[in-house]
Symmetry: C2
Subunit: 396 residues, 2 copies
Amino acid sequence: METYEILRDLAVIFISAKLFGLAARKCKAPMVVGEIVAGLIIGPCLLSLVHPTDFINQMAEIGVILIMFSAGLETNLQELKKSGLIAFIIACVGVFVPLAAGSLLYMCFYGFSSFGTDEFFKAVFTGCIMTATSVGITVEVLKELGYLKSRVGQTILSAAIIDDIIGIIVLTFVLGFKDPDSNTLLITGKIALFLVLSVILGYVIYRIFKFYDERHAHTRRIPIIAITLCFIMAYVAEKYFGIADITGAYIAGIILCNVRDAEYIDRRVSINGYMFFAPMFFVGIGLKTDFSTLNGSVVLFALGFVLVALLSKIVGCGGVAKLCKFKWADCAKIGVGMMTRGEVALIITNKGLDMNIIDHSFSTAVILLIIVSSIATPMLLKYLFSKDNAVAHAEQ
Amino acid sequence: METYEILRDLAVIFISAKLFGLAARKCKAPMVVGEIVAGLIIGPCLLSLVHPTDFINQMAEIGVILIMFSAGLETNLQELKKSGLIAFIIACVGVFVPLAAGSLLYMCFYGFSSFGTDEFFKAVFTGCIMTATSVGITVEVLKELGYLKSRVGQTILSAAIIDDIIGIIVLTFVLGFKDPDSNTLLITGKIALFLVLSVILGYVIYRIFKFYDERHAHTRRIPIIAITLCFIMAYVAEKYFGIADITGAYIAGIILCNVRDAEYIDRRVSINGYMFFAPMFFVGIGLKTDFSTLNGSVVLFALGFVLVALLSKIVGCGGVAKLCKFKWADCAKIGVGMMTRGEVALIITNKGLDMNIIDHSFSTAVILLIIVSSIATPMLLKYLFSKDNAVAHAEQ
């Protein structure tokens, strides 16, 4: 392929991602839904204008690394500490109920298998995909409704953030066990070592970066050094610790989230992300989706997958909220608020595809889940909060 | 190669580019020199930490396209109209003097031969390789020095762009002699058609974009649409008109240089450029350098080739600038600014290799020319402009 041929692919991807993203927003759906649909339309599924190439995959990989780095940078450690125990409990239950339910669903469809087998691993991975709440969509909806700073809003937000961290730790452990020859103790040790090193070295890096940043604030070198740190951590995590590169990138973001220029770095990372790399990731998902494998059982599995993924979050998070003495109405809001899935579910699915853990029929299920949850959540939340208002009005 | 391996390459390239770039600035040399040196050091020439890959080449291609697009966006059309005729004359002389001098050099080394023979053709082709100025490095240096929008800067930029087009027309004619099947008239017609279409369609696109921009100023979609236009024009130029993609990108920039958000677009393009793509281009030049084929006679020819290529541009462009009533100091700047060679020289060399016109010793000479000119031009330009400032200060 001539080098200039990539320009054509890039042009088609950028413009279609933007067009369908805007169309999705007009339909009150998140823009990423539009970008995935763009990929479905321009890709081999429909128009065949663009085919997935190595270059597109590599750009997409950088895209997802930047998204995770940005998510890490935007983490508010103080807020996380304050919102404390309740959010943590909700997040834990919100991870483990879908994890168990997802695994069970897979086994119901494809047979029960004993611990340690490939099939058992696939089942657990299916659960893994269901764990991560998409903070982005939830935040945007709560903001739009004006309830982000309410107690319920703050609880959902903190739980969604903690849920991301727990989800990634769970994923890391699950992926560590992928290799049947692998030494369980060694993997657990590696992961523990990585987390310990992340805390210790992370703190050292944070102090050095903070010191340097205060002397060279708002210079070009700050975001470049930050991005380099992100890439090195992502690479080292995957290469030497067998931990997903996205986890490394996320931790790199958390390490830098309290430096003075965190927002400045995040802004530059985001500009690179939204202009070049993130559309490559979301459109790339559409490009890689292959409906030719669709058949009755896949569709049935996808429907079950969506149902279980949504209900397990509502029941898990809503239920534990009730135990934490929230009102029933608020429990419903917390459950619904936690049920959105987005880029993290896709990222985990992609990882699974790359590692040949799952097959392409899973993309279909996950894409369906994202589309359904990101359309249903805003509508349900709007309904639940408006009912609240109606009651409040009636009481006045 | 695992996808995550690119993260390591990127981290090494980014951090070394920044380090050597800053070191170059400390030594009062432009940062791009440091970036090229970084490529020589981390590449196969020395440390072999990073090897040129398809991905790096493609990122570098996007890098040079963004640099040219940005240069186009920063074009002052009023200034260009003013400098247009003079730039055209400088470009013409800047093509024909190196063409003649290069042919003569070949004949001095390998014997004079009569018109129409194979050897005569080789000589003319040697001249052809010397014709195209690589404006990328010069633009970056002029920007860094803050003289891109000066009269001299605009003259160099315009002349370098016109020089590209004339160089391509000359190459087309020369190749026409070699291959009796190629239709020289058709190719010349295509080039003319592209320029005419650029003006007509360019004006239409400008009006539409201006209209849209005024309704959606400062939104994310504006830079994305602009980049898409840039990529489409670069692609169409190369694919359908046989014109270098960088020329298409530059013209796309010129089309948008008068819209309200031109600066807003440029800022976003530049952030993408300096953070990701531009270092890939400059480091990439160093990475691709291979000194292993060097021997005595090749070195001698290469040295002659470099010397003639540089001097013929300085004498040709500087001399004709003097005839156009520029001051001697400005003539020197124009001559030096026009002497950089880059990817176009490599593309022409590649073409010659593919068609068995020249042998591999030419690659060494051309790469040496690119390295020497890309290191010498920034340093000389910086020196010439600083002398100017010193005079200006003395006069105050």
